[in-house]
């Protein structure tokens, strides 16, 4: 081990010695990290590549040629599943869930700033909702609906089922975001004559905005990919994950891979938009600290 004094970098981050380069552990860990990232992205790259499989090709390598055939197949052939319809529903559902998640998480985050009677109970209910097996809740909601005599629908019961998953995440993110919010800003607003609503609109929400975008991001992606809880609560019309599930059981062509590529692109676009928004907001604040 080097006995050089620990570096005091501007960021204050590393403990690796300064001028003499990196210790051997750095290279080992770097290798581990690289392997991990490769393993993470590896399987998906196979899918991306294979989705351009030639018409004559099958589900595995080698590639017999390049074509966009399977993408076309995906969107046009009925037998491959109702991709367009389920995609449509998934997006709409995700938007609904996202909006509700942001609003409710924001309010809950505000509530938890102080202790109130029963705050422990609420907190543990949230954790419970998070760790409960998704399928169990799904079944429970399904049974409940049968009891009441209401039918499951992707735009009603599935919304609630997905919220039971996204809200805990959203509230936890809000906890983290709120903890960085200085009450003095709010007090200063009141001091200067702002009403409760004005303080919220002009000070609290703008300052918390990057955090709210982060909650929206979580909400959207968690909803878009949600499977277990939606399974029994979506009703007769499938969301995209449910559709994919039934496709994996039935479809044996690379159009499935094409689907994978398409959904990935969409997810990436959404994330890029959200992160870009957060980044831009932070830059305008000239703030030195990242949002999460």
């Amino acid at each position: 081990m080097s006995t050089a004094p620990a570096s005091k970098t501007v960021a204050g981050h590393a403990i690796a010695p300064r001028a003499s380069g990196r210790p051997w552990t750095f290279y080992v860990l770097l290798a581990v990290f690289v392997l991990y990232v490769l393993a993470l992205y590896g399987p998906m790259f196979c899918i991306y590549i294979l989705s351009f499989q030639d018409v004559r090709g099958g589900l595995v390598f080698p590639m017999k040629g390049l074509s966009l055939h399977w993408f076309v197949d995906l969107f046009t052939q009925v037998r491959t599943g109702d991709v367009k319809g389920s995609f449509d529903r998934s997006v709409k559902l995700a938007v609904i869930v996202t909006v509700i998640t942001v609003v409710v998480s924001f309010l809950a985050g505000l509530a938890f700033r102080r202790r109130f009677r029963g705050d422990g109970v609420v907190f543990y209910l949230m954790i419970g909702s998070l760790v409960a097996p998704g399928l169990v809740l799904s079944i429970g909601i399904g049974l409940l609906l049968t009891f009441i005599g209401v039918e499951a629908r992707w735009y009603t019961s599935a919304v609630g089922a997905q919220l039971s998953w996204t809200l805990p995440f959203g509230v936890l993110v809000m906890f983290a975001v709120m903890s960085r919010f200085d009450r003095a800003w709010e007090e200063a607003a009141y001091d200067l004559g702002a009403s409760r609503w004005q303080a919220m609109r002009l000070v609290v929400i703008p300052i918390l905005a990057p955090g709210l975008v982060a909650v929206a991001l979580f909400g959207f992606t968690l909803s878009y990919d949600e499977f277990a809880r939606t399974l029994q609560t979506a009703g007769s019309l499938n969301t995209l994950p449910l559709e994919i599930w039934s496709m994996t059981l039935n479809v044996t062509s690379p159009s499935l891979y094409a689907l994978g590529t398409v959904t990935t692109i969409i997810s990436f676009v959404i994330i890029a938009v959200c992160l870009g928004t957060i980044g831009r907001m932070q830059k305008r604040r000239a703030s030195r600290v990242p949002p999460l």
Binding site: H13, I15, L29, A132, V136, V171, D225, A228, L275, L292
Partner: protein, 287 residues
């Protein structure tokens, strides 16, 4: 201003409760109720209470096997995701100098998770299958003569899929915990002559405990509650508790499924509660 906020606390929390109660509390209670009832064979429930469902569960050898399988996978997944997750987080926090780069690399790790679970699962087939890339590479390079069967549709592939999917749940809280370690504490230790191994053992590990606990909660609850990863990746060779539950629901055997669900949920709750006792969650998620 202080006193006036009291009322608003409950007002602000009510939307959350409006969701949690009907979509978490109620379903759990319904499942609990259903577990004490009998099936009429057609997916309906007969309103005569019975403990038969539970008796069936506890006397069935199948139950034990299922739990053994499930716990086996839980432990293996936890172990590997912890080891990998811990070192990745450690690398990002302690060996990357620029915080911007660290966040960037961290995001790089999270990005794959913004795509569908199921797609990521089937993506193993072209990689691990008998005609998959790995086998092809191994055969071509002469390491083996026949494709390795165990790579896919086996316990191995189940664990691989779980670890692939869940390591991120370990990385995030551990990264968060480690990031909060005051670097000056580490510098003071180096100053006092501690080796890097000492620092790991005496400073980093204890201060990351909370992150590890949180990650464990996520991993354990997801694996124990899973039914489709194991079904697909084991090719039907293995089963899990929830998997069997799913089968029951498929044949409309709600009461027995409900009973099984209750038992599982209690087990998961016990494990999570035990872990929660050792960490102050609210303090941990503040920045």
């Amino acid at each position: 201003m202080a006193a006036r906020d009291g009322v608003f606390g409950w007002l602000y929390i009510s939307p959350l409760m409006l969701v949690l109660v009907p979509f978490f509390v109620a379903p759990i209670l319904v499942v609990l109720a259903a577990s004490f009832l009998q099936s009429d064979g057609f997916g309906g429930l007969i309103a005569s209470p019975t403990l038969q469902n539970y008796v069936d569960i506890f006397t069935s050898g199948l139950t034990l096997n299922l739990y053994v399988e499930t716990i086996k996978f839980t432990l293996l997944t936890w172990l590997f995701s912890l080891i990998i997750g811990f070192w990745v987080a450690y690398f990002l926090v302690f060996h990357i100098r620029s915080p911007l780069l660290a966040i960037g690399l961290f995001l790089l790790c999270t990005v794959p998770f913004w795509t569908s679970n199921i797609i990521r699962m089937i993506s193993w087939i072209p990689l691990l299958g008998k005609e998959g890339l790995i086998n092809m590479a191994l055969i071509k390079s002469g390491v083996v003569h026949e494709p390795l069967e165990f790579l896919l549709f086996s316990s191995f592939s189940v664990v691989v899929a779980y670890v692939h999917q869940l390591t991120i749940f370990m990385i995030v809280p551990i990264f968060n915990s480690m990031g909060r370690i005051d670097k000056r504490v580490v510098e003071a230790a180096l100053d006092a002559g501690a080796s890097r191994f000492d620092i790991m053992r005496l400073i980093v590990l204890p201060l990351s405990k909370n992150g590890i606990a949180l990650g464990t909660i996520f991993v354990v609850s997801i694996v124990m509650g899973d039914f489709f990863v194991i079904k697909v990746m084991s090719g039907g060779g293995s089963a899990s508790v929830v998997g069997a539950l799913y089968e029951d629901v498929g044949v409309l055997q709600y009461p027995s499924a409900a009973a099984s669900a209750v038992v599982l949920t209690i087990m998961v709750t016990l494990v999570v509660t035990a872990i929660l006792r050792s960490v102050d969650v609210r303090k941990e998620i503040t920045l």
